[in-house]
Amino acid sequence: MTDRVRTYDTDVLIIGGGLAGCWTAISARRAGVRAIVAEKGYCGTSGVAASAGPGHWFVPPEARLREEAIARRMAGAQGLGDARWMERIIDRTYRTLPDIGTHYHYTPDDSGAVRRHALRGPEYLRALREKALAAGAVLLDHSPALQLLGHRDGRVSGAQGVSRQGDGDEWLVRAGAVVLATGGCAFRSHLLGGSNNTGDGLLMAVEAGAALSGMEFSSFFTVAPANTPLSRAMIFSFARYYDTQGREIAKPAAPNDHSAIAVALQGGPVLCDLSATPEIVRRQLPQISPNVTLTFRRLGIDPFTQRFPISLLGEGTIRGVGGVRVTGEDAGTDVPGLYVAGDVASREPVTGPVTGGGAVNAAWALASGCIAAEAAARSALENPLDQRSILEPLGDAGLSTRRDRTNSSTTRSAFANTLSKGPTRPDASASSEVEIVLREEMLSPTRQYFRNADTLAAASARLSAAWGALRDATPPSAGPRERQRFRELAAMTATARWCTASAAARTESLGMHRRTDSSTNGSDVPAYVISGGADTVWTRRQAAGTVS
């Protein structure tokens, strides 16, 4: 069935076409190289920014302003920040973001000024798609990547995946270099726009030999009206919350800490009261965030006069921090030919152990995308891929029945080994069990907010069992969608294991990572928790400011 594989050659392959992937593609084209984006969904509506409204860290090039902005963030980063990275992303964002004005229609503010840093998601992503196409990038929509491809010389040299629409079942891209821009992982909570973000890039990177960092900073939750994905913060900035007995829940010490709500939710529904919202904000709301007003209208709730139940949605590493460890100024990883951009990368250099939601994350996505694109373009030009070179898939967790369909003259299969082990678990039930474990362990706000050695050890045992069941499980059908689904489950499970192992390794509380069995906050020597390993998960501590 090799004729069902569509193959492409390019200089830079970008996996993921959300906020970071689009900027990467635009920058790669500017650097003068060919660029292909493989996107799981549709480039322009997919990714968490498309249904939100990202503000960017946007500081004019005045020395005093920038120094102050960086100093504030360095203090919050508690020893894990890197002022040079902060400077770099502020500068990049300030210089690059206004370029979107060719495709994004800004409405001036009341003073007639245009606020370049504040963009509404659906329009921003639509503009990014159009800009990437205008720049000459090739976009493969509905084309989730399943595996990276490696060259004998140790470089990552492409990827392969499935096509959910169109006339081929599979695609394969041979590339001089690869940028992962697959976003964070929210474990399929109902986070707005987050269902495609299942940690695929983290798994692909680790299988290729990259290390992760900061995976313990993954305990981030957002308030949303119960049963809805509406995880948009602005409307809740005037909120008061009440427990089942009608007692008001104390305001959190830090704006993103919803641990008191998490505790109250264990006793029953928590109700939200927005009656303190000023009249003017109520009137402006439809034009600021139309998806917020429509949500309440369709629920039949007047949020300003009626109390309504809320829930907490897990965000994992999305507005958490952890991800693939960036090893240099070029957004490179431990693996040659592999670069990272956006939420898939660890943002510790610019946020430390606290969230970068609200401004820094979007600036990081944009700027790391530009930086990774330029480095990947240079790397691709310096290491042109020989047409005849043999590429090997670099990992296959959750894909064990995948038949050798890509065995063209240039690609050998790594599945022969797996297949020779004989039939493995033909399992639809394994997958639903894994979903339950993931939900209970990773999406429980109290479990994530209040971590201790015992709960982490129990989680670790359940998750390794889940990994074992999935590792060689056989999807019920070998169709592209089923294979993708099993691969996503494997990626979420692997991600959950790295989060849990890293949380166990950081025995002190720090930033969003809270240990109830430790009275220390931070350590004398600030350190990163590095992690990795697919079948055998490992962690190690590394003092901040040291290399490797």
């Binding site: 799981k40 969904g41 549709y42 322009g44 509506t45 997919s46 990714g47 498309a50 249904s51 409204g53 503000g55 229609h105 800004y106 409405t107 503010d109 606020r115 504040a118 963009l119 509404r120 659906p122 329009e123 929509d141 509905h142 959910r164 629409q165 109902h190 707005l192 726009g193 987050g194 269902s195 495609n196 009206p225 049963n227 809805t228 994905p229 509406l230 602005m234 900035s237 005037f238 000023p278 904000v281 402006q284 439809p286 034009q287 600021i288 965030s289 139309p290 998806n291 007003t293 429509l294 949500t295 209208r297 369709r298 629920l299 969608r481």
Partner: protein
Amino acid sequence: MITSLDTERCTACNQCVATCPRDVFEKTEHIPTIARPQDCQTCFLCELYCTADALFVHPEAEPAMAARLTPSDITPLLGEYRRESGWDEWSENPRYANQHWRMEDVFRLARDG
């Protein structure tokens, strides 16, 4: 979750098939079907791209509540997201201009009063 596709309004343009990030719709010889509702992420974006205002997404992620809605509940709500977002034919109407820039001012008001 995606709730309905109004077969009378639908022009079979297949925009929803192309743009849904979760690949929920399936092309047919006629109008598309909602083939994989369980994959829907309730992002409302298909409504923005459907210029015929044929699609309706209920804000609850599970289908229970949406199942209670009747066509007479849904029809008056069709197209409101596209209109309020100021897309397509609504783009010149100042009432629907994109004022996203106000968000930071609202946050500031909440913080500093």
